[in-house]
């Protein structure tokens, strides 16, 4: 899938959501719907390489002013582990990670860094401790928060589900993504 069609789909999603919200707000009985309870036996998400058509694509996103359009998986891994701290234009890399236990974070750490969360946390701490990394990744809990941060910080890089991307950020294509993936990696229901 090309970057432009993903952007278009994201824009359509945003537009439909905005129209829906407008109609709801104009309704005399407008009230936010109660959140649905999770299904009692919701299967946990498991990170795995892209395989099935119903997998959930993850994408890496950067600030719109970042000239980089393509990264390799190795490039992203080095950024996540603090081994690469600058973009080609000299801007400092600021990594944005989701909170621990979030499936997106688990997927990225397993599939990009090839390790589990505990090892990743220890390696990042050690990179800060050895002064290879000047500061630990920024932790944010929501995709909206991730995108808002990236919008405001020129050298930031993070990841969200493809369906959550909006126009405030730019998707970076992974040059060596596994075959069949939209971009990068997917989450798959167990």
């Amino acid at each position: 899938m090309s970057a432009s069609s993903t952007h278009a789909r994201g824009a359509v999603n945003v537009l439909c959501t905005a129209v829906l919200l407008l109609l709801v707000s104009l309704s005399p009985q407008a009230a936010p719907p109660a959140p649905l309870p999770p299904p009692p036996s919701a299967p946990p998400l498991q990170a795995s390489p892209a395989r099935d058509h119903d997998a959930i694509p993850l994408v890496f996103v950067v600030n719109r002013k970042n000239p980089v359009a393509t990264l390799s998986v190795a490039d992203v891994r080095m950024m996540l582990l603090g081994e690469r701290s600058h973009w080609p234009d000299g801007a400092r890399v600021t990594v944005v990670m989701r909170d621990p236990d979030e499936p997106e974070r688990d997927a990225v750490i397993r599939l990009v860094c090839k390790m589990d969360d505990r090892s990743y946390t220890r390696m990042v701490l050690r990179a800060v401790f050895t002064a290879e990394l000047q500061s630990a990744p920024k932790l944010l809990g929501t995709p909206a928060g991730v995108m808002r941060f990236i919008y405001n910080v020129p050298g930031a890089i993070g990841y969200v589900r493809a369906s959550e991307v909006d126009d405030s950020v730019k998707i970076v294509r992974l040059s060596d993504a596994p075959a069949g993936a939209a971009f990068g990696f997917t989450l798959q229901m167990r």
Partner: protein, 319 residues
């Protein structure tokens, strides 16, 4: 500013004569970092530790103002861990980071009867070298060297010589094998000792692999000492290898060390030959706290051969 702490508590028992079993508090390490600008940061380590007489002292083990304008050039001024070998730069004063209970004998701190210049005061610079997927890196340092035979081995305020210690090295981190690193460094100084100055060259090589589950560390260091004005050179050799694999929260490990100093070495002649295995297991019972238990046998040959078996348990944590 960000503050993080590291500390450990341990218990040791051995069959060494006249050495009782002991509970002890290890170093209490306060690690402070502060971002002064987008490319300027402060890194410091302030350590409280007690000596053999149970007296506490405070040491500024690291104080580094670091300027990082690009991945190819990063320079710091202050007190740092020298880039000799792998272990010294990968592990500082927090026991929690290390898989094993303690540092290899070869990389012991100066105030722990260490033989290497573990700390430097001066300028340290490093960076990447454009080399594609090879992942080549360089390191260069110049600073006050260390003293031998002096309780204050690290020359923090006053250097006793105009001659400065120099260290240069290269690292290789190939992208195709994430976690693999090899390196070579060469250090030179003219340190003072009670028996005079020596020309000292330290050549260190390492091949290590760490991927979060599996760890293998291998290092060899040659320390060549030539008393100034004399021709005879003695070479002290230090080597260690460490293997560990993580199974969930458990990480069993094994290490073997060997340190061999010639009798005629002006600085290390009394060390003799020290070698032996360490076998242990690390249990990360919480994400930020680990229990380590280790058995080691240290065989020392200084004329007579003495073997000491020791058992140590340590709780290491970060906060």
């Amino acid at each position: 500013m960000q503050l993080r702490g590291f500390a450990d508590v341990q218990f040791r028992a051995s069959n060494e004569r006249d050495v009782p079993s002991t509970f002890s508090i290890g170093q209490m390490d306060f690690f402070i970092t502060s971002r002064l600008a987008s490319d300027l940061a402060l890194v410091s380590e302030v350590v409280f530790e007690a000596d053999d007489q149970n007296h506490y002292s405070l040491d500024v083990e690291r104080l580094l103002l670091q300027f990082s304008p690009s991945d190819y050039f990063d320079i710091g001024v202050g007190r740092y861990h020298t880039g000799i070998g792998f272990y010294n730069n990968a592990y500082h004063h927090g026991a929690w980071f290390q898989t094993a209970l303690g540092r290899p004998r070869l990389f012991a701190f100066e105030d722990d009867e260490g033989i290497l210049p573990v700390h430097g005061v001066g300028i340290t610079a490093r960076g990447r070298i454009p080399s594609g997927k090879l992942g080549l890196r360089w390191i260069a340092e110049v600073g006050n060297g260390r003293r031998y035979g002096d309780p204050e081995a690290v020359q923090v305020v006053v250097d006793d010589s105009n001659y400065k210690a120099v260290n240069v090295g290269f690292l290789l981190r190939p992208e195709r094998v994430p976690g693999l690193q090899s390196g070579l460094s060469v250090y030179h100084d003219k340190p003072a000792s009670p028996s005079g100055r020596v020309n000292q060259s330290i050549i260190a090589a390492h091949v290590v692999y760490q991927n979060g589950v599996f760890e293998q560390l291998n290092e060899v260091v040659f320390i060549r000492n030539t008393p100034i004005g004399e021709a005879a050179t003695s070479t002290t050799t230090g080597i260690y290898t460490q293997l560990s694999r993580r199974f969930g929260r458990l990480s069993p490990y094994v290490r073997y060390e060997h340190l061999d100093a010639p009798q005629d070495d002006r600085l290390f002649g009394t060390l003799g030959r020290i070698s032996g295995p360490s076998i242990g297991v690390r249990y990360d019972f919480r994400d930020l706290a680990a229990l380590k238990v280790q058995w080691d046998r240290v065989t020392t040959r200084r004329g007579a051969t003495v073997a000491v078996d020791g058992f140590t348990a340590q709780v290491a944590f970060t906060f």
